[in-house]
């Protein structure tokens, strides 16, 4: 006999508010999935049209905390494209530094939450302790553990010196050693693998059809990393920085976790390379640009996948329309495929494996 089970919208195992209405059979296997959204909808796309271009830098950084650097980064790329501005090379490099630091911290946070939900508390503790090194780095250089306030129109708001470069290099080396050890521990933990291998499978065909991105796509054998497919910023100027993407065919929770390990190690490689070869020059253009009438579509690779911004302007100080789509917007729909036919007890872990960012998605 089928049984109705609800999870959420507020539940200790959910990072953010989602409401699952499931039907399960007598073996607690999910036979029907219904996901109800909208608990964190804030009407931000309407709000940004009431703020000027400078104020929107602050607002976009607050769409969500985990990818808080990517939103203003992509937004300024769109505004700069309309204005026809080319920023200094040093600013391009500094933007990439901040981005890869955020990616490492974000992916490590997701992995620690995954091990928490899999009840692997030693792995969780080690992963969070490693992430803490990145948090301390953010705090020491940018003065904040989440919102780094890096981007501005025509450049960045911070600079690095020999001392801070050394701090980044030391931290990256230390984190890299620990991440390699962690990846080995995840692979050697039979209990973790028992709980994650073959769980929440997203087949390659479904992944293509739904259009998933980021580590979710990479876990199902698809490489649509924007840094590789449509490189921007320093990834375009120095193609050797483009990540060597790790792909898996299994499409399960374990594969997505391993894809994230690949992302973290590449992020650390890029980070070390960029800070060791920082170009000289200014960090921003002193002349504040006029944003003329126009429209632009720009995208970047956020920790969870492709982030796209559409910006339309009319020559005034405010956007006419601004629209953005975050990776979870499409990855979320894939949950229905992943959860169907799996155990009810695995639902929150499967949700976590897409690294959902619901604040970003609902805006």
């Amino acid at each position: 006999m089928s049984k109705q089970i609800t999870i959420g919208p507020f539940h200790p195992e959910l990072e953010e508010s989602v409401y699952f209405k499931l039907e399960a059979d007598e073996n607690r296997v999910v036979t029907k999935v219904n996901v109800i959204n909208g608990f964190i909808h804030r009407g931000m796309e309407s709000l940004v049209t009431k703020k000027n271009f400078m104020q929107n830098l602050i607002l976009t950084e607050r769409v969500c905390s985990l990818c808080s650097n990517n939103h203003p980064f992509t937004y300024v790329l769109a505004a700069e494209k309309i204005a026809g501005v080319q920023i200094p090379l040093r600013a391009e490099a500094l933007r990439v530094v901040a981005d890869e630091v955020k990616r490492t911290a974000s992916d490590l946070f997701n992995l620690s939450m995954l091990t928490h939900l899999a009840h692997e508390h030693d792995l969780m503790k080690d992963t969070l302790n490693t992430r803490e090194l990145m948090q301390d780095l953010k705090e020491s250089i940018w003065g904040n553990r989440m919102d780094m306030s890096v981007n501005q129109l025509t450049g960045v708001k911070y600079d690095l010196n020999d001392e801070t470069v050394k701090t980044i290099l030391d931290t990256a080396t230390k984190v890299e050693e620990r991440v390699l050890k962690l990846r080995e521990d995840y692979n050697n933990s039979t209990s973790f693998k028992d709980k994650t291998v073959g769980v929440g499978v997203l087949p390659h065909k479904d992944a293509l059809e739904i259009g998933v991105t980021g580590p979710v796509a990479r876990g199902s054998g698809i490489n649509n990393d924007v840094r590789v497919k449509a490189p921007y910023s320093l990834y375009a100027i120095r193609p050797e920085l483009q990540p060597k993407v790790t792909l898996f065919e299994e499409g399960d929770v374990f594969a997505r976790a391993m894809a994230r390990f690949g992302d973290i190690l590449e992020a650390l490689r890029i980070l070390k390379d960029v800070v060791s070869n920082l170009p000289d020059g200014k960090t921003y253009l002193e002349k504040r640009p006029h944003i003329p009438a126009g429209e632009a579509v720009v995208r970047t690779e956020a920790p969870r996948g492709e982030l796209i911004y559409y910006l339309k302007t009319d020559g005034s100080q405010k956007p006419v329309r601004m629209r953005w789509k975050v990776p979870t917007f499409t990855n979320w729909e894939a949950l229905k495929v992943m959860i169907l036919g799996d155990k009810v007890d695995n639902v929150t872990m499967i949700l976590n494996s897409i690294d959902p960012c619901i604040s970003c998605t609902e805006r």
Binding site: H41, E45, K229, R299, V320
Partner: protein, 166 residues
């Protein structure tokens, strides 16, 4: 895939014509901007995207006087194809039956702008509660009005009154 190849794939299939613009960012990434005159030919473009194994990344809508502009943003292996169309009767032809990746994008346009994607397989709301009227982005709505149910009617209070037993 190049933009020229994509243009070749659609050029004989849209009798009422279209405009094609190409732009390139400072990093060398090209994008196509296709504006169709008749909205039904969005289906032709969607079929071509599918044939090239592309996906719908998202869609944008905005209001322009008495009509709505809808822009689909597609991706084919790193190249963005933007498809722009105008609708005067608040309906568009849903491309979700062709490209599943357009599902949420079209549903969001429906609830934010009250533009109906005709033929969309789902009638469910995406983010907004059924108590809120469709098309909340068509006009500026103050917070106090939003809390009253975004409507000229008393949706919220009728709901409350029904539940209150005097």
């Amino acid at each position: 895939m190049s933009i020229e190849e994509f243009n070749n794939a659609i050029k004989n299939k849209i009798p009422s014509g279209y405009e094609l613009k190409e732009d390139q960012d400072s990093y060398g990434n090209s994008q196509a901007w296709i504006t169709i005159r008749e909205k039904k030919y969005a289906l032709v473009v969607a079929n071509a995207i599918k044939a090239f194994k592309g996906r719908c990344v998202v869609a944008t809508a905005y209001k322009e006087q008495n009509s709505h502009v809808v822009i689909y943003h597609f991706d084919i292996d790193g190249v963005i194809i933007n498809l722009q169309l105008k609708t005067n009767d608040s309906t568009i032809y849903s491309i979700t039956p062709i490209l599943k990746s357009a599902d949420w994008a079209e549903r969001e346009i429906r609830e934010m702008y009250s533009v109906e994607p005709v033929g969309h397989p789902s009638n469910d709301r995406l983010f907004l509660d059924y108590g809120l009227a469709k098309g909340v982005l068509n006009e500026y709505i103050s917070l106090s009005k939003m809390q009253m149910g975004v409507s000229d009617t008393d949706i919220l209070w009728s709901k409350v009154k029904k539940e209150v037993k005097l």
